[in-house]
């Protein structure tokens, strides 16, 4: 099998404080109470498509043990450690050079570690078909589009020329996060899809695109070409990674390429990027609260109550609020104001 899966797991998840903290980011947590962390679910979702030894996880050195603890089946040398964060283009280049040292003609699925998919069968059908496609079209860069269910302003969109049905079709353009009016127009038009951040390509296609659109990045990694797959790989990365341009794969490659494809998928996807999206996807009690943990909830509605095991809580008299308690840290706030969490955390002594 020449199919690889690259799981990008370097995020620090500050939007989910206090559940997600620097020392234990969101991808390692079971925020939805499914019994599995996001990264474990991601791994299992790809497992019918990719053999365990072909999973590559890119993360921060601080999380290497967590990755191996949650994914004991994968090879330790396939847990790649970024010394610092440099956005998705350098992250993916690192993984691709590592894979090239093992397999010069691979096809690769790249995925964030912390997304939710509720229909795994459909997911595997779509991804399997996409990998067939990029193996037959070795210049194609494919990104998975998601059929929008609401005028979401928190995601980027992919435009295609005509409504694609179930087919894999060329991308017409990528759209940044829209305002609400634009998002409503996208939804009504039927030829705009959410950009899931899941990519499929062959090593030929992505290396060709890197050479064409990010030549400095290629020059930097080529300087250590012989070290990939050897004990010298990490010291090369530690010395050079900081010099990579901080640029996303969307902006650095996908928006510039002329050979990009998408599909309009519908497999119950969410990036669970906010407490609000967690609220949307969690089970609700009769007062529309999403409650997890040992909590007595009284006279409270439309709220998220998330109490870590080992704690107990009484919550009374709230509406549209968030109460999260984990690891000696408490957050009580209005759900509508959750985008401020990052700023409040900075104020903590």
């Amino acid at each position: 099998m020449n199919r690889y899966c690259v799981i990008m797991a370097g995020g620090i998840g500050s939007r989910f404080w206090p559940l997600s903290k620097n020392n234990y980011p969101k991808q390692f947590l079971d925020i939805l109470g499914t019994g599995k962390s996001f990264i474990r679910s991601t791994y299992e979702r790809f497992l019918p498509l990719v053999p365990p030894e072909n999973f590559v996880v890119v993360t921060n050195a601080a999380y290497k043990d967590l990755v191996l603890q949650q994914l004991p089946e994968i090879k330790a040398e396939n847990v790649l450690c970024e010394p610092m964060r440099r956005n998705t283009a350098p992250c993916i280049a690192y993984a691709v050079y590592h894979i090239l040292s093992q397999s010069p003609e691979a096809s690769i699925a790249v995925t964030p570690a912390d997304h939710l998919v509720t229909n795994e069968v459909e997911f595997q059908r779509i991804i399997g078909r996409g990998m067939d496609f990029v193996e037959q079209n070795r210049e194609a860069l494919m990104t998975i589009g998601i059929k929008p269910s609401r005028p979401e302003t928190g995601y980027g969109y992919i435009e295609v020329d005509t409504k694609p049905g179930d087919a894999i079709v060329p991308v017409a353009s990528f759209k940044e996060k829209p305002d609400l009016a634009t998002a409503k127009r996208f939804l009504a038009a039927g030829n705009f899809f959410w950009n899931s951040g899941i990519f499929l390509w062959s090593t030929d296609a992505i290396m060709g695109a890197f050479r064409q659109y990010l030549p400095d990045l290629v020059r930097l990694f080529d300087g250590g070409k012989d070290s990939f797959g050897t004990p010298q790989e990490q010291s090369f990365i530690n010395a050079q990674f900081e010099h990579c341009e901080n640029i996303s794969i969307d902006y650095g490659v996908m928006e510039r390429s002329q050979c990009r494809y998408t599909v309009a998928a519908d497999f119950g996807w969410s990036d669970i990027g906010t407490w609000g999206s967690l609220y949307t996807h969690a089970a609700h009690d009769e007062a529309q609260n999403a409650v997890s943990g040992n909590a007595v909830v009284v006279d409270t509605s439309n709220s998220v109550i998330n109490i870590e095991n080992g704690y107990e809580a009484i919550v009374q008299g709230l509406d549209h609020c968030l109460v999260a308690l984990r690891d000696h840290s408490l957050l009580v706030c209005r759900l509508d104001d959750e985008q401020q969490i990052k700023h409040w955390v900075e104020k903590l002594g």
Copy 2:
């Protein structure tokens, strides 16, 4: 010195959950952030009047170590352990029999362990004068009245016949907790005072009253008279205490006696019986929040935020609420509904 101080410290403080729990009740906590627990403050408040070896603490066996830890100066044999709670009359009888074994002609101040006094100089003046009085009037039962500052419905009241000024005067009657209209009338009248639960008397006076009004209690304790002050005291108490009538000293003795006195004191007293009274006595920020602990408080007003050392908290978007976090337990509720806390705690799994 024949002066004794009996500190009643058997309460479990369920109204202050989660700060105060069965294993760590309110009297052992520094709820107000003064740097000292209530029982320690109580001890130090009486120390200019009573020598350390004459302090007697009545508590539950479960709290004996806590008492000795917080009051290392007192004698271990003066920490009396009730096997179960039987209200204040048996508690005080136990202490009086214990004191009689050391000193047959003592004068005794009895005090709850968990009250606040802000003017200790005035407190010591009032209590010192009261102890002189009960030493000169060896049949007198004295209770300390507090000049009311508001029409409080949470306290019992002491009525005297005329406005007493600074004098020690006879009690006309005791009044149960009044409704608001009655409390307003008491406040306006000027001859009604809060019943502080602090008592002063000689051993002669209290033993005479016990014999007259609670003969069953005297009979029970007389049955173990020789054991008090000996190693047999605890086993006698363990065997017999449960047979004591569950009755308060107010109802069992003070309301029946004809020889009772009071004084209208003004030394900044509160029983800190509720979160609301804690709010009243704590320092406030500019948004009228009483905040203690490592907390970032945003867009929140008129609230109590009480975060134990070792925890951190962000609290946003609340008004007239209580947020208390201690010992792996969280309470978030409206301050107006705090009388329900006990019921919610019972619901916790």
